[in-house]
């Protein structure tokens, strides 16, 4: 049962073939059995999950009209505030903090009857591409436990990939949903900026952060997308418009007559051969399904990584200033006679990890007087150029595509000493964030050289998220029929799921 898709579980619940309590127990058992190896979860909230499941079962028994995901378990990235449940953003500085409020996404999940199994591991404050920067130790890729699941939403991706949950929530600031989805062989979507409320999402970089869904199929991901998206008056950057019809698009799955643009700048040097092979194979499939493949040029993408590593650290240096030991979280150095300033210093020194400190220092520098124009100002100009590149490209194509990640899952520790090598993992995903548009990663098969999953990235204009699902579903259907089942069903390391 746990190998089923969320859509199948939903149908089984609807028909009375199973209950939410049963489903939840199966997943909690799976977590108990394998999470000691995967370490996808920071906190398993079993009791509350079962209570929530029982409540949904009771509602169903009483004939109440329920949404399609009512009673389906889900893993929640620890970056979202959930009332009364430990929420750390992967940082020691928030160890033990229990929010007194629900983030809007959590409130929407609860209202939809989705059962929250627990909080998943992540790079501290979502800064990283491997989940190794977590203050609580790394998460391991279910495909190969010596490798990372990507990041920063590595815990959520690993949980879905390891059948610990059929669905998960992540957040994507520079690729933190799409890249781990690619590295673990599942589907992940970063919705349009402003499509999903950021209220209660612990901020890394406010102008780039966006919450999004993980699933094992395009349809499952669309179903979750519809639950969490929508205007929220508590988030001033939230878009006040109807949610794109992503579920309908996922069910349609048709690319006939669509123009698909391949971005010249996102392939070639630095891309693993197996990644490019799977990418090109997918392009051939899309062409065979009736899509027209065109080449598009986005010259400013060359500077995307540099712009990102100025804007994100600048915003984070300010966003993370609130962790000062005054009101919540860690407090150290509070001995007799210690000043507030020295307690702040000691706490931030002890509570933040190396990568977080690196980015705070970088951002503080980039914003400082005399350097602002050269760094933050220039980065904003590049951002504008990237938006222009996309605008032009979208006049030539309905969607744009690229490999999600230039490489497959890398070894734990392989890049953790070399920040630049790590940053390059997000080279293909970052432009989407800078432009505020939407992107999806879905499995394109395994790279021949290492038998690890390759992700295929689809990008669409702002609030055209349905195009991702329409194209993704068409490609997925063709690949699944070719493979004789979902890619994830063949994951080698952690078989034994029933």
């Amino acid at each position: 049962m746990i190998k089923n898709t969320a859509a199948q579980m939903s149908a089984a619940l609807e028909k009375g073939e199973t209950t939410s309590v049963e489903l939840t127990k199966l997943h909690l058992d799976r977590i108990a059995a394998i999470d000691p190896q995967v370490k996808a979860f920071l906190h398993v909230d079993g009791d509350n999950a079962l209570k929530q499941a029982a409540a949904v079962d009771a509602d169903r028994a009483s004939g109440k009209k329920l949404g399609p995901l009512a009673g389906i378990p889900l893993a929640l990235k620890d970056v979202l505030a959930q009332e009364g449940v430990p929420t750390t953003a992967g940082s020691k500085i928030l160890q033990g903090w229990k929010p007194p409020y629900d983030s809007t996404v959590v409130a929407k999940l609860k209202a939809a009857g989705v059962v929250i199994l627990g909080k998943t591991n992540m790079d501290e404050f979502a800064m990283g591409s491997s989940t190794e920067n977590s203050g609580y130790g790394p998460t391991f890729n279910p495909w190969d436990l010596t490798r990372t699941p990507g990041g920063s939403s590595g815990g959520s991706a690993a949980a879905v990939s390891a059948f610990e949950a059929p669905l998960a929530i992540g957040s994507d600031t520079g690729g933190s949903i799409r890249q781990p989805a690619a590295l673990t062989g599942i589907v992940g979507v970063r919705p349009t900026y402003g499509a999903v409320s950021r209220y209660g999402l612990i901020a890394y970089s406010s102008s780039l952060d966006q919450v999004g869904p993980f699933g094992r199929t395009v349809l499952d991901t669309a179903m979750l997308h519809e639950v969490i998206a929508g205007h929220d008056p508590k988030d001033a950057t939230s878009i006040n418009a109807a949610v794109p019809a992503v579920v309908a698009a996922a069910k349609l799955g048709d690319v006939k007559g669509l123009k698909i643009g391949v971005i010249k700048q996102l392939q070639g040097d630095g891309y693993q051969s197996g990644v490019l092979a799977r990418f090109n194979e997918s392009l051939d499939i899309l062409a065979s399904l009736g899509a027209k493949i065109v080449q598009v040029d986005c010259p400013s993408f060359e500077y995307a990584l540099a712009a990102y590593y100025l804007i994100a650290p600048s915003e984070c240096s300010s966003n993370l200033a609130r962790f000062d030991a005054m009101r919540y979280g860690l407090r150290t150095g509070d001995s007799d006679g210690a000043s507030a300033e020295s307690v702040m210093n000691a706490t931030r020194e002890a509570g933040f990890g190396r990568e977080v400190k690196r980015r705070i220092i970088l951002g503080t520098y980039a914003l400082s007087s005399g350097y602002y124009d050269a760094y933050y100002g220039s980065a904003q100009k590049i951002r504008t150029l990237i938006i222009e590149d996309y605008k032009k490209a979208f006049t030539q194509a309905d969607v744009l595509v690229s490999p999600t990640s230039p490489i497959t899952a890398f070894k734990i520790g392989e890049k953790s000493e070399d920040p630049m090598a790590m940053y390059l993992a997000d080279v293909a995903t970052i432009p989407v964030n800078l432009a505020g548009i939407c992107g999806m990663s879905l499995p394109a098969g395994l790279a021949e050289e290492d038998n690890l999953p390759v992700g295929f990235q689809i990008m669409a204009p702002a609030m055209q998220d349905q195009r991702l699902y329409q194209v993704g579903a068409a490609l997925e259907a063709a690949l699944v029929s070719k493979w004789g089942g979902y890619l994830i069903s063949n994951a080698p390391a952690l078989g034994g799921a029933k």
């Binding site: 950057t237 200033a321 005054m326």
Partner: protein, 500 residues
């Protein structure tokens, strides 16, 4: 050695700059829905947003934007069609996010002016104060430093934080530099703050209570040699919590700067705190090393873009300007210049107008408030509005006097009673048994009694020495416990002694 103010003015010219912070009276805070009521139990008016809990986001209070635009319009400012919020980054425990959401390079209102008029040696003179910008920001929380002698952070045992004030909408009104006020600089500054206060009160956008901190003034002062066009180093004086203090602080700073300069020393660019008791300032944070606030556009908020039609709507709703209102009242009430100035100076315009609107004669209303009631207020060292006597009470007293039911002297007793908390005028009259003795029979009895007792004086009056009547009238008044109408007593007395 202490310089006199005239010594300072003989050599230097002051240049002013004034920054006024106004707490808006919106019901909710700038970026969340918490209440803004003053004086709640510490930390009861807080939420995830104003406590800066992880994940919380600000949302702009539309009412605060409306109030700010109203202020901008009243100060003759241009309203930006597009302005944005910025983050001002610095660490301080009473600032929950460790950044303040403010406006930086794109304020909502800019380029305005306010005209103020003051009395000079050459008569009333008008000065124009140019406004550089009016922008929105949020207030900080409050730190309470416990232990230590001074109540300041230095030497305190521990500090308590109250975030009730954190996030209350503030509007900052910044002038351009104000040169050319000469020796009237302190008066011009005071008149400017008073004018602002009246404008804000008229707009009903703030409580404008300087004592409670809802209107706070920072005064920048520098001196330059007369004739020079090089600006001197300025000091910024904070904690100026009354109109009188604005005047005192600026005068004091001018003298302090002049003393330093005369001794060949430099004025430090620094923040100073005004001391209400001594009228002097003490040194605060030194600003020689300008703090780097790392301003950048607030990414959690979208730009403010008020529709032109809305701005015009607000412009059409602007109330009468205080200066025009003063002019109108002066004419309507036929008040002489000097009395008008006294009334403004005593901050009594509103209360007198209210009394007049309740039916009192303008001259009578003014005389009561500025005379007897002001005297009591001064004695008690409180503001007129803080006394228990209301415009309604005064209007009632004026009516009682007009009806002949009270004499001026008795009315003073009633005023005293109302202020002492004995109730409304009619109640005081009843309780104290105050009434005018206008029964001629009773008066005649008293007159006959007094004339018998003081026969020598009475004879003087009979012989045509009228000034002697005063002593007799006084005695009759005493006999009747002050409840008689002195004019009537005089009339009857003179008649009785054959002089009527």
């Amino acid at each position: 050695m202490a310089l006199s103010y005239d010594d300072v003015m003989a050599k230097y010219e002051p240049v002013l700059g004034l920054e006024v912070h106004v707490e808006l009276n919106t019901e909710s805070k700038m970026f969340c829905s918490c209440s803004t009521t003053f004086g709640g139990e510490p930390n009861t008016q807080t939420c995830p947003v104003c406590l800066a809990l992880p994940g919380a986001l600000p949302v702009v209070n539309a009412k605060a934007i409306e109030s700010t635009i109203k202020i901008g319009l009243a100060l003759n400012c241009k309203i930006a069609p597009h302005s944005r919020f910025a983050r001002k980054n610095y660490f301080y425990p009473d600032m929950p996010k460790n950044f303040q959401i403010s406006q930086y390079d794109e304020p909502i209102c800019f380029d305005g002016f306010v005209d103020v008029e003051i009395d000079t040696d050459e008569g009333p003179k008008q000065f124009r104060i140019e406004i550089e910008r009016v922008h929105m920001e949020e207030d900080t929380g409050k730190s309470l430093h416990v232990g230590g002698a001074t109540g300041r952070i230095h030497g305190a045992e521990y500090s308590l934080l109250d975030y009730n004030r954190a996030g209350i909408p503030l509007v900052e009104i910044v002038t351009k530099i104000v040169p050319g006020t000469g020796k009237y600089a302190p008066e011009v500054a005071k008149a400017y703050v008073a004018e602002l206060r009246d404008i804000l009160r008229g707009l009903k956008v703030s409580d404008v209570k300087m004592e409670q901190g809802s209107l706070r003034c920072d005064a920048n002062v520098s001196l330059r040699l007369i004739g020079s066009d090089v600006l001197g180093t300025r000091s910024e004086t904070k904690n100026v919590n009354s109109l009188r203090s604005v005047e005192r602080a600026i005068r004091g700073e001018m003298i302090r700067h002049a003393e330093l300069l005369n001794e060949g020393k430099k004025v430090k660019q620094e923040t100073r705190h005004f001391q209400e008791d001594t009228g002097l300032t003490r040194s605060g944070r030194s600003k020689e090393q300008a703090e780097d606030y790392r301003y950048f556009p607030e990414p959690d908020l979208v730009p403010v873009a008020p529709a032109a039609s809305w701005i015009e709507e607000l412009r059409a709703q602007q109330p009468e300007r205080p200066s025009l209102r003063r002019k109108r009242l002066k004419e309507q009430w036929a008040v002489p210049d000097k009395e008008m100035a006294a009334m403004i100076n005593a901050d009594a315009l509103d209360i007198v107008e209210e009394t007049v609107l309740l039916g009192a004669d303008p001259t009578k209303a003014r005389t009561w408030w500025l005379g007897e009631i002001s005297r009591i207020a001064n004695e008690k060292e409180v503001a007129l509005t803080d006394l228990t006597i209301s415009p309604k009470d005064v209007a009632e007293i004026v009516a009682l006097v007009a009806a002949g039911e009270l004499t001026d002297k008795l009315a003073r007793q009633v005023v005293e009673g109302v202020i002492a908390g004995e109730g409304a005028p009619s109640e005081v009259v009843a309780k104290r048994g105050i009434k005018v003795v206008n029964d001629d029979g009773a008066l005649m009895a008293a007159i006959e009694k007094v004339c018998a007792e003081q026969s020598e004086t009475a004879d003087k009056v009979r012989n045509g020495h009228l000034p002697a009547a005063g002593a007799l009238i006084g005695a009759v008044m005493k006999e009747t416990k002050g409840q008689a109408d002195a004019a009537r007593v005089r009339e009857l007395l003179l008649k009785h002694l054959g002089q009527g």
